[in-house]
Symmetry: C2
Subunit: 207 residues, 2 copies
């Protein structure tokens, strides 16, 4: 790893490639938590870590991948959300849990749930907020912004039902919901999600 | 407080009325977490605390009230769930959030959310499981057990949407959902809850 920069070395900091990686991750966590995902640049993360921005890209790739690494998400969120861009909006209510349930139930799901759980507790809440607002909601809301200005709220209600499944199935472990096949959960919540995403809204919700 | 028993005194334990109260609460937390609400008797809590069962009733009233105190819920869950017994099942989907949103948004809601949040983390998860399974789900499921054997699952899906609102609105604080009037949240989720509680179920869910 000859990419290790020298300008960023400060006394007392770990040096070498793993030192740089750790400093980048620490800087990313701090900035994502303080300023959110959208308002944090790769350059700012690099600067906070005392390294060159190119090194951040070299180690972590995209900003989404850096976020995943910083929050210990075992999966790049765009790997999950990306394919949904091809899904017609009137099928998103089913496609979303069809993607997520198998992922949550998988090996990497354990780490994912652990990451979500630690994001819900204490100091990591700003990371959770940024994750939902700047990544999940931002990805979906423009496609379901009908009538104008309702997309964010629609996406948030869908997210609320999905988070509720994470809590009930994986964190609290309510039986039989915790052990039933994922496809049955999809069948149960797909109409809910579709209504939130594209159904009629009650009078009133902020538009 | 002359009710302080002498038989329960052991070396090193706090004595006096507040000592008894603390020991009862510690015993209750331990037993509720290990055995669940349903399988924990007031007598067992008393025995674990080295006091007479009458003293537990004297200090805390019902088992629900003891649970609320042990988990630092600022509200006895039966005060919330009790009135729903008068509500026709086809109106529960609206009545439930109409009761809960104002409560969560209130002064005591802050403590309630804090209690819920700490129940979702680490060692207190068994308390959360017992709370939902033995108190919330047990209270609702018999009334919505149509067809036979579906009541628990129906109640759990409704609970999942309500927990998701707690997470999105109060813990993560997703805007605009976090700041919108509670009535608008009720309007949005009432049809979801009603479908879970009394609507058609997809093929398959364990009955």
């Amino acid at each position: 790893m000859s990419a290790e920069p020298t300008g960023g070395r400060r006394p007392g900091r770990p040096s070498g490639a793993s030192g740089s990686r750790d400093r980048i991750l620490a800087s990313a966590r701090e900035l994502f938590a303080r300023n959110g995902f959208a308002n944090t640049s790769m350059r700012a993360v690099a600067s906070g870590a005392g390294v060159d921005a190119a090194l951040v890209h070299h180690y972590f790739g995209t900003k989404q991948q850096l976020f995943a690494a910083a929050t210990e998400l075992p999966v790049d969120p765009m790997v999950v959300l990306g394919p949904l861009r091809e899904t017609p909006v009137d099928q998103l209510g089913r496609a979303l849990p069809e993607l997520l349930l198998p992922l949550w139930d998988s090996q990497s799901g354990t780490g994912l749930i652990a990451a979500m759980r630690s994001m819900l507790t204490g100091t990591e809440v700003p990371l959770a907020r940024s994750f939902f607002r700047d990544i999940v909601v931002a990805e979906l809301s423009q496609r379901i912004d009908e009538p104008d200005g309702t997309g964010v709220l629609r996406a948030e209600f869908a997210a609320s039902q999905l988070m509720g499944i994470v809590v009930a199935r994986y964190i609290v472990g309510l039986e039989p919901l915790a052990s039933m096949p994922g496809e049955q959960i999809v069948d149960m919540i797909a109409p809910t999600l579709q209504r939130y995403l594209t159904g009629d809204l009650p009078e009133g919700p902020a538009r």
